[in-house]
Symmetry: C2
Subunit: 341 residues, 2 copies
DNA sequence: TTGTATGCGTTATCAC
DNA sequence: GTGATAACGCATACAA
């Protein structure tokens, strides 16, 4: 695919009988270059269809002006919304985005990180895979002097910038709203306990339950059932219990879908016999019937914030700043699935 | 952020008292390097935490091993699924992905392309913005000797590899299924007429109508209403007509949602009084009530195919191959919204 | 088997 | 104002 090579500053220099370095300065509008010369160079560049090669420039500069992103799946609303926000900020700052997906696998996550290190990215934004139970891969990044920003699914065993929602507070709000609707026997379906956000959501749940002086049978709190299928498998036995839950709070919308499947299979009506509350406000949540009560994480905003953190706090900073955790406010969206009236 | 620099082959060479170029060969397991030396180099590399800098290597090689992707929005199922497929293939071929979104704007699309050219990407995969009515931006890419592969939203005024669905055939099938269900007065909500896929979907619609000897009032075919809102605005007056349509075929699921909104607003029941058929099989389509009949485009497969086209037909080829259009079979998914019984 | 020289396209430094 | 030179990190043709 090399029919002919692209024009370089050497070509422009030759045509204009000036030196390549001077062309470079002219193109970057260096002060020491007269306006008339800048003009001449620009015209010749246009004429030769010259395009600046940013990778060569970045090699020279010792940067890549590229941000790496690792997410479990790019085709889940939460992540694609977040990436969308990240892309906007990066684009506005003349940086580009290299995206990898881990498919929730720790091994693939490690490979993706390896690739990004080879690519010499300036920063890595990561939301960890469900499977990830070690911080070795993150330490690997740090070992290569690449700053890490975790978002949403953060491992607190690794110190880095983090962008998350006010998970505990909003979960507390959600469960309170269930209690206000008259639900009394509320179960919880969670995610991997290593991931802080899932622990926090559980804490919020427990706080609301405790505050209302309700009791939770030990088997009403089930961790590590993050997918629709696994939540379904967890909900079925729960809903077959003599003293079955009258509401279920889950840490993702997909899990709520699994609960709804289970309820349908057992002929249990939502919301009258069973309240359901999800998390993430996926596109489908307001479209299912009954529409799903959930939590809007403002994911695009979360992505934007993560990227901005790089540009404001790390980029062009001399030393590594003290890490920090940014909290993005989220909102409960009460819909039919948790409204008894 | 330059606390200390990363190790290079020079560092390894110095430590081992051999030449840098020899290190390079040893690391790439060149034949002329003894196994014992390879081993020594590898160990030292490991020890110094050396990471291959692929951007420097690629600069030397005159490639970037990077594919650029431009889509309207990365957070729409169809596109994120397609990108997911593209990513898989690229990752398997040791290439990385730079992703830009046009937000359906021609101007942003052009800027994204400009960025990708600067980035020196080896190929650009693009699905054009709704607004795009010129092929200038694509010619700009070609002018820079970068191969273009259009997918889904292709402009046929620009000759390039293209990957699309069997739009006409599957639309024909979809409309036939509506007719089979007894719908007789079927309207069409389309996209921009410049984009081939939308024209083809219309052609399929017309073919089925013609075959069944049904007539279509001139105002039952409405182009260029691609979003939920615009489809809603188009559907409302249509459904207020004395001789209103008893079914509507749209070229996207979001449009169908707009139609459903309109029907709900006017108290028209789906599917008994109005059949609705969408396109794309977005995640939500099987979750809405009534569930939406639609067309599964096999978008991940479509993305994979687009990427494979690059690796199989363009990458490492001496001359630009003759372009070609690849058709990905799609399938109709008949659900409640178009089933009268 | 090992090493040398050169260049990829740019920019920063210094000299004129 | 303008230009020569080195360097970014690597790979390759060529020499030994």
């Amino acid at each position: 695919m090399n029919s002919r090579k692209r024009a370089t500053i050497y070509d422009i220099a030759k045509e204009l009988n000036i030196s390549p370095s001077y062309v470079s300065k002219a193109l970057s509008s260096h002060e020491s270059v007269s306006e008339s010369m800048r003009q001449r160079v620009r015209e010749k560049a246009e004429q030769l269809n010259y395009k600046h090669n940013s990778r060569a420039a970045n090699l020279r500069r010792g940067q890549s002006r590229t941000i790496g992103v690792v997410v479990p799946h790019i085709n889940q609303s939460f992540f694609s919304d977040a990436i969308s926000g990240i892309e906007e900020v990066c684009f506005a700052n003349n940086h580009s985005l290299v995206i990898c997906q881990s498919h929730e696998s720790y091994e693939k996550e490690g490979k993706a990180i390896e690739t990004l290190i080879h690519q010499n990215v300036d920063c890595i934004l990561i939301s960890n895979a469900e499977e990830t139970a070690s911080t070795d891969h993150l330490r690997q990044i740090a070992k290569n002097k690449i700053p890490v920003i975790q978002f949403d699914r953060c491992l607190d065993a690794f110190d880095s910038f983090k962008v998350i929602n006010d998970n505990k507070a909003v979960s507390y709000e959600a469960v309170r709203s269930l209690i206000r609707e008259g639900y009394r026997n509320i179960a919880f379906l969670g995610g991997p306990d290593l991931v802080k956000i899932f622990r926090e959501r559980k804490e919020g749940f427990i706080a609301a339950i405790a505050e209302a002086n309700l009791s939770i049978p030990y088997n009403f709190i089930i961790d590590n059932v993050l997918s629709r299928e696994r939540a379904n498998q967890a909900a079925l036995p729960l809903l077959r219990l003599p003293n079955r839950p009258d509401a279920i709070f889950t840490v993702s919308d997909l899990q709520s879908l699994g609960v709804m499947d289970a309820a349908a299979a057992l002929g249990i009506t939502i919301p009258s016999q069973l309240g359901v509350f999800g998390f993430a406000d996926e596109t489908f949540s307001q479209l299912v019937t009954p529409s799903l009560s959930t939590i809007d994480q403002h994911s695009a905003e979360l992505g934007r914030k993560a990227a901005e953190l790089y540009f404001q706090r790390i980029y062009q900073q001399d030393e590594m700043p003290k890490t920090e955790t940014v909290v993005i406010a989220s909102e409960i969206r009460i819909r039919q699935s948790s409204r008894r009236q």
